[in-house]
Symmetry: D2
Subunit: 346 residues, 4 copies
């Protein structure tokens, strides 16, 4: 049994990790970390866990935790993991960081977009960007995994084959993204109150959202050069789900079948990526609760552009499920272990 | 492996049964029955099942199905199961009927409240009312199970110990119930359109809802005499979940501890019934996707009444999960098999 | 033109008052009071008011305001109005208090249920309970109006004729109420976050909600004796709307027509109370944005009980609209002025 | 008093027209047309209109109606208005068509995108495109107004100044639009059921939505040449509201102030267009129930693109409110009459 500790287990992503690990037959959770609920019963914070999790919330002591666990998940705000990690800890445990601390290789880019100083730049180099479908082999054996962002995972996975194969002009990429409200976290903010979010849609972080450089970096690796793109997130009145609608100019004339063949080549064997049938649009409701990403595209011959759509559950494939998938790779388990439940609808 | 066939697999309850059986390691689904989608791929009806269920929908031929399956689930409108079942079929397979056809022992009560003629009254006697926590031993070995209604399960399980022990006056019971919209089915009706249900709450079926006699019958068994009660369902703008708030006069002076002890005696060992901590009210969000029923009560000394609350997921413990629990009992499997996932929140 | 000042204009009820008064042709708002947003533009707090309300938020100085206004609305937490009001102020302006401070005649009941000391018990006697359909004549000419609670208005207006005429046994009244989330206010609390309220229904304040004694007092006046009842509120995932479903034993045999005649006698001429056609259940969507209360009832001959339903918009007839109706009475204007808009659906 | 008839008064847009005209002091509704509810009371179709509209629904007889009314609104599916209108009718009444029949000047474009034959192409020339802020003078005195589409109004009004002034390259325009579900109409379709729309977001009509050529035509007039653009609508789980997020390459270097000055020049005096403060994003909740369009933009210096956002209520400025605004122009009334209510929030 893998002993897992979660720092930040009382946020939405942390709790989703709890839910998934409870159903993972090779893992037991040994530490329910929390900043706000220390010494409270976990089920008092999340009533769904009553009679399932009898544990009490502990503090965010990574040092102590690293002596009890085989793997630590940090589902915390930016900066915390980087401020806690050190060589001793990394010698003892694997760390899967769900925050952005180790996602961006250029520390100055991180510090500019996040507005904080990076406390452990020395580990950025060794950290691997944990998008399993792209970096599968590099993840195995690593001790520090940077779990990708939710918007990022959806954006990258849906566009990756096109960028990699030069089918689209990378300088024309525009990503219009829509997210459920759990992505905004469980903080008590007026903007996230029911009556403020319900019956509303809005863009936010226009031109400044922090997932922008992360997408740019990863897609830049795919096409072998730097690229700049537009990324605009929107808040949607629903609990879970991310949909990205991306636009780019095709680099030439392509038929549906040609582009489809490329997607199939990359994703046919990927368990968690479903390229939908022709003309079927991804919908967030059909991935809810699961680790799937649904992808599809449509060519617009009139404008010479392609529209690419991706849908995932921000708390699963966009956070906790991806983290479990990374854990499976790190520990040599089947990659789908604990992640095989069908999406729940309605 | 148990071979399962589902008649009515393309309704919401039928699809939930598919989801649960896919995660049940001793079962395989051999028949996806449907009235409206014959010859269509199941995943074209429910996009969440893409790349998970490759099967094509078949018709509602119970005769043919009974030769291929070990158990048949009928998740169909009232009357269909009673019109299809016969001795040959019952000799070959177990039937778990999610409709109301075999729930009510008095056929005249059934015919009056449902407004249809019962086509197989000869099997009403042998059918067992499949509320496992109450009829566990009677269910084992049966060949025909009447799976309880969603409102009914919540109402009965929350009130049962009080009625059975004479703690409340059974003639004073009032049940005010609230349900998510999946309970209304997947039929294309204006009343169930998004814009009609959203931002609204209403009562319906006031004094005439068909779950009334079912609750009365079962609670009548508990107290050993006929009783009449008020049951008022409401439609709530949410997908899943039933909450019942029940009121009754206490038959005497009782303390919290005394009543609590009664609940514990009945339910402490029941895996799927969670009696919450004092003063914690059941909420539907905390049982979503799971087979749990959350129960609690509050004594009002001012009025001498007790308020009893129950919450469950209408598609799981209120339908498909209960059906799987019954299947487990029928086939001698651990009762919780395939039903162990934690509730999904948010 | 009536000069109106609003203390607490940045809560949901306060903002609804702004919306309604902007459409009231005999009123102008001279004071946008706020505790949290002093010196900010009102439209920065409520973006809907951009280019409509150019004013800046002022503090809660009732003394100063009373010299500029003809009427003061206090849409504030309990206790504030009672702590600010004095003889000087009452000499200069009319006060319509949307809080509970002057609703309950017995100060000890107020202090017990609200858990705070009443700072101005000397004005409780002169304050009038501002439910216009019941106390119309007493309101005219008063200087201090206690605007009723949202749940209370719905409960009282739907039950009043039955209690007053002795058609039901007042000791058997049970009110099961459901409210949209704007009733919980605009405070930044985790419990009111979108993801906590959405896809959920729960009871709260069971046996202890503060609107209980207010309903008991007013219905007690109607039947001429003290009564105790059960009142259970529920939180519904929608922005606006209150539905009450009330149960009581009939005091004798009554036909639909007899009870209907009583309702008609009381309400036929009431503009804002709509007694629906037989068998039509009130729904909150059909009163949204308006000052209407929709009422109906159903007799259950089996149990001898009557089920009474009422629906209103908690921010209009349950708060701001009722307050404007009171203002109209105080200033001798047509009672419906500024309140004539049809409900907005969907 | 203007006598108004509504053909298609029982759809969502038709009912919104009823709501607005009830509050318009110079209009009375003389005809509640309906295809599905002939001879039923209007309030039985829309319960909000109980005791407000006592009228019975009539058929869609435009001939007869034209003898009773001064203006006819057709809020019907495509093709109906074109099939009913004739010279006699147009001699007697003004027609404001909320369908697409007379919006597109090139009949072959209409027939290609809508897939139906145009029954009255002879009137396309004289019909005026009823976007008042752009065609105000041309609308006055006309007898046939093509009321713009909901997505179209939002897209055009938010982009118009930039296209007209050559600030963006018109061949780079990408419009990503999001709509509430009332835009899908009141038809009984499974796809529009509560449980199918709730907790979901999806794109639809990708590259093929019929509002595309309408936007292209109108923006083409603005820049004086044909243009092709991408328009992708999405369905959002909310009742009302459209948000468009548009992307285009700037034609040169522009500062915020320069672009802002252009918007102000076009819209400062427009009552219904609100250009928000710098960095404030339009949100649909802040225009709900009103005729406002909220507009803003953000320049991305990194990519050389501008992101333009617009928000309106699809049933008001996107349909019925726009129609009333057109009626006001046609009859020489103040353009804002009956449209002055503040947006309702929450």
């Amino acid at each position: 049994m893998i002993k897992a500790g979660i720092i930040g287990s009382t946020g939405y992503a942390g709790q989703e990790l709890v839910r998934l690990l409870l159903g993972h037959r090779e893992t037991e959770i040994v530490w329910y970390g929390s900043k706000s609920y220390i010494d409270q019963k976990y089920y008092q914070v999340y009533g769904n866990m009553f009679e399932i999790v009898p544990d009490t919330c502990l503090d965010d002591n990574m040092e102590e935790l690293s002596e009890k666990a085989d793997v630590i998940f940090t589902a915390t705000p930016q900066g915390l993991c980087a401020s806690l990690v050190n060589e001793d800890i990394l010698t003892r445990v694997k760390i899967i960081d769900l925050s952005a601390d180790f996602r961006i290789k250029d520390v100055s880019v991180y510090e500019k977009w996040y507005g904080i100083e990076h406390k452990s730049p020395q580990y950025i180099g060794e950290a691997v960007y944990g998008l399993c479908e792209i970096n599968r082999e590099q993840i195995k054996g690593k001790r520090l995994v940077a779990n990708p962002g939710c918007y990022t995972s959806c954006s990258i996975l849906s566009l990756y084959p096109l960028v990699k194969e030069g089918i689209i002009d990378p300088d024309t990429i525009i990503i219009d993204a829509k997210s459920g409200t759990s992505g905004a976290g469980r903080g008590a903010k007026i903007n996230n109150l029911y009556c403020e979010v319900n019956e509303n849609i809005k863009a936010y972080g226009v031109t400044t959202h922090r997932h922008t450089p992360e997408i740019e970096e990863q897609l830049g690796y795919a096409c072998g050069k730097k690229l700049l793109l537009n990324f605009t997130p929107h808040l949607v009145p629903m609990n879970r789900g991310i949909l990205t609608t991306s636009y780019a100019a095709l680099s030439g004339k392509y038929t549906y079948e040609e582009v489809r063949a490329v997607y199939d080549r990359y994703y046919e064997k990927e368990h968690f990526i479903r390229v939908l049938d022709k003309d079927v649009c991804p919908e967030t409701r059909f991935v809810e609760g699961s680790n799937y990403v649904d992808v599809n595209f449509k060519i617009d011959e009139r404008t010479g552009r392609i529209i690419v759509m991706g849908a995932l559950d921000n708390l699963v494939k966009g956070a906790a499920g991806q983290a479990v998938q990374n854990m499976n790779l790190l520990f040599g388990l089947p990659e789908t272990m604990g992640l095989e439940q069908a999406p729940m609808f309605p």
